[in-house]
């Protein structure tokens, strides 16, 4: 289904918010926002039932612009606020948006525990391999050897694979896309939002301003082309050796499994607590 861009803009962007947004021209954040809005459009969800919660960072500015119940929390803590929201009012459809630093450095502990807890939440992580907002310091996903303002001589630490981390931590649904693969991203976000359980979509995105430039990766267009050239589907990746996979980006659904959801389980806890009360 092709969706007219104007319909999305008119329906979901805030009219009373002062645009322009804070993002640099060509930043991948806009592509992610559009994909999210298209997914919501297709799902025909009411704007009143959606909460878009974020942490702090460039990508985390997204909720400000969209006409949902929006929550811009503290750095790394979006999932903790979202957990309270969801537990207190399970009827809300809660989506969190976080940067790689937000989700896996300062918020890393919350991320793995949210995956383990398995609330019915969607977590979109915009992975641009850098701390964009603070001006280009290395993040947990900055590749070994890369340059950043705090690794001028080459980065000596190793990077997290966020999606694989989410699988290991127990998320119900985990997928990866890049901002080049916008159509796939739409589909994956929709799948994640429909999934009953903790669903993660990692989106590889370009911060050509703070990361690309310093590492001679070109501008936004060149970085997107690299994503196109380096992406391999999950299916194809299964047939490749570790050496062949080096430097590649695996895209598609990494995991999709059924597990008890904690809000549903808590309903049973209430029942058992009342039964126990009756026996006293």
């Amino acid at each position: 289904m092709t969706i007219p861009a104007q319909a999305i803009r008119h329906k979901y962007l805030r009219h009373n918010k002062k645009f322009p947004h804070v993002w640099c021209p060509g930043c991948g954040n806009g592509i992610v926002m559009a994909a999210l809005l298209r997914a919501i459009y297709r799902m025909e969800l009411s704007k009143d039932e959606i909460v878009l919660a974020s942490g702090i960072g460039c990508s985390s500015r997204m909720p400000t612009y969209t006409d949902f119940n929006t929550l811009h929390t503290t750095h790394g803590r979006a999932l903790t606020f979202a957990t309270g929201l969801k537990l207190a009012k399970p009827s809300l459809n809660v989506v969190t948006i976080m940067g790689d630093g937000d989700a896996t450095a300062i918020g890393g502990n919350h991320f793995i525990h949210a995956a383990r807890r398995n609330l019915n939440l969607t977590a979109i992580i915009v992975n641009n391999s850098i701390y964009g907002m603070t001006g280009g310091q290395y993040s947990p996903t900055t590749p070994f050897g890369s340059k950043s303002t705090t690794s001028l001589y080459g980065h000596i630490e190793h990077d997290f694979s966020i999606a694989e981390l989410a699988v290991t931590a127990g998320a119900s649904f985990v997928a990866r896309a890049t901002v080049y693969h916008a159509a796939l991203m739409d589909k994956l976000i929709e799948q994640a939002m429909r999934k009953r359980g903790f669903a993660v979509v990692e989106v590889i995105s370009n911060c050509h301003v703070q990361y690309g430039r310093r590492n001679k990766l070109g501008g936004a267009v060149e970085m997107l082309k690299t994503y196109r050239d380096n992406a391999v589907t999950v299916k194809k990746a299964e047939k490749l050796s570790a050496e062949e996979l080096a430097g590649k980006i695996t895209i598609g659904v990494l995991t999709d499994r059924e597990m008890p959801i904690s809000t549903e389980e808590y309903k049973k806890v209430r029942q058992r607590a009342n039964e126990a009360e009756g026996e006293l």
Binding site: N16, K17, K18, K47, D48, E49, V51, A53, P63, T64, D67, F68, N69, T70, L71, H72, T73, T74, R77, L79, T80, F81, A82, T83, G84, L85, K86, L87, A88, K89, S91, L92, N109, H110, H113, Y266, V269, R270, R272, A273, N274, E277
Partner: protein, 380 residues
């Protein structure tokens, strides 16, 4: 279940009374992380909340606990967390968020000896100034101190009421002695307890300005999902909730945040007087230390010293209007604390030469006894 306990005489510890107070006040969400001497609050609520349709969550740490109660409150549910010093330190950033986004919530800190892991789990009152100033930036906050099991119930109810009324986080400072002492109490009839709920918007969603103060300076609060879509942020924001750096909007916001509390002073500032009418010397005390002070004042009276006690229930905003008359009336005032002098500095600030302020401090992990205070009182 809480409804089975009303009007009954019960042997409870302070922590249990806090938990029952929360249930009576309408708290239906609790998130916490275990720490002595606060854990019983979590344990009791883990057992009781599900029975009343509420939710208990044990989070991965206190940062998450604080985030979760803010989230639940934004969903329209009264929320609380409980911890001790180390956990309270971790909560500070999100506590500031609750101040700036004006999210009602209650935080219990059962104080133990610090700093750091400190003296687990000896009594202390070392977190008084942290409760006031622990999170960064100028911010409004209410801090209450409980001194007994009975207090722990009623002050917790009061904490929720103030929090809902002013849309401000309220901190309850308890201490190891109050938390673990068992006393006989009678819980009031539930329907006789005054319960305050946040005011929800009455205007249609299109007219709603989520951060426009009413005549009290407090904005009306819609829950997420109720049709009043709005933005909540820790950034300084305009009346629509959107970030702003415009001087006039920033100033307007900051002033409103402070003034909503200033205007509420008469309701917020709570104290108790004991034998103050003709007192020539007085004790100003709070928390478990106030209990020792009652006895010391009685004993001093028997010996012929005209002593009195001003017990502070509200520590912040500091009860200047109740403390000043005592300073004007009394020749000398004793401020005993299980810290190096965190409230005595407030008393001194208000004193301005009116009276002689004498500190009495203990930081060795021991409780301040009535005998100790008596000895000090009769010397004044």
């Amino acid at each position: 279940m809480i409804s089975d306990l009303e009007n009954k005489r019960l042997l409870l510890q302070g922590n249990e009374a806090v938990a029952y107070g929360a249930l009576a006040a309408g708290c239906r969400f609790f998130a916490g992380y275990p720490i002595t001497p606060a854990t019983e609050i979590s344990e009791l609520l883990a057992a009781e909340l599900p029975k009343v349709g509420g939710t208990f969550a044990q989070m991965e740490d206190e940062i998450a606990s604080m985030g979760a109660i803010i989230g639940a409150s934004l969903a329209g549910v009264k929320s609380m967390t409980a911890t001790s010093g180390p956990g309270f330190s971790l909560m500070q950033e999100n506590l500031g968020y609750a101040c700036v986004a004006e999210v009602p919530c209650v935080i219990v800190n059962v104080m133990r000896g610090g700093p750091s892991t400190g003296l687990p789990t000896c009594p202390s009152q070392g977190d008084v100034q942290m409760a006031r100033w622990g999170t960064h930036g100028d911010h409004p906050i209410i801090v209450l101190a409980t001194s007994s099991v009975e207090d722990s119930f009623s002050i917790t109810v009061k904490a929720f009421n103030l929090s809902e009324q002013f849309r401000v986080p309220v901190i309850i400072l308890s201490d190891e002695v109050v938390a673990h002492t068992r006393e006989c109490v009678q819980l009031p009839e539930l329907k006789r307890i005054r319960i305050v709920d946040r005011i929800r918007p009455s205007v249609p969603p299109d007219w709603y300005k989520p951060y426009e103060g009413d005549n009290r300076g407090v904005p009306h609060m819609a829950a997420f999902g109720d049709g009043y879509r709005h933005h909540v942020t820790g950034l300084i924001h305009d009346e629509h909730g959107f970030p702003t750096q415009k001087e006039n909007e920033v100033l307007h916001f900051q002033n409103r945040l402070t003034q909503k509390i200033t205007r509420g002073f008469p309701e917020i500032m709570m104290t108790r007087n004991f034998m103050l009418e003709d007192a020539e010397v007085a004790v100003i005390a709070y928390g478990s230390v106030a209990r020792s002070a009652y006895k010391a004042v009685e004993d001093a009276r028997k010996q012929g010293t005209k002593a009195g006690l001003l017990q502070l229930i509200t520590l912040f905003p500091f009860c200047r209007s109740q403390v000043t008359p005592v300073l004007e009336q009394c020749r000398a005032v004793l401020v005993p604390e299980m810290n190096m002098g965190q409230i005595s500095r407030e008393v001194q600030r208000v004193n301005q030469g009116k009276s002689i302020v004498v500190k009495h401090n203990r930081i060795d992990g021991n409780f301040i006894t009535p005998q100790e205070l008596y000895t000090q009182l009769v010397k004044l």
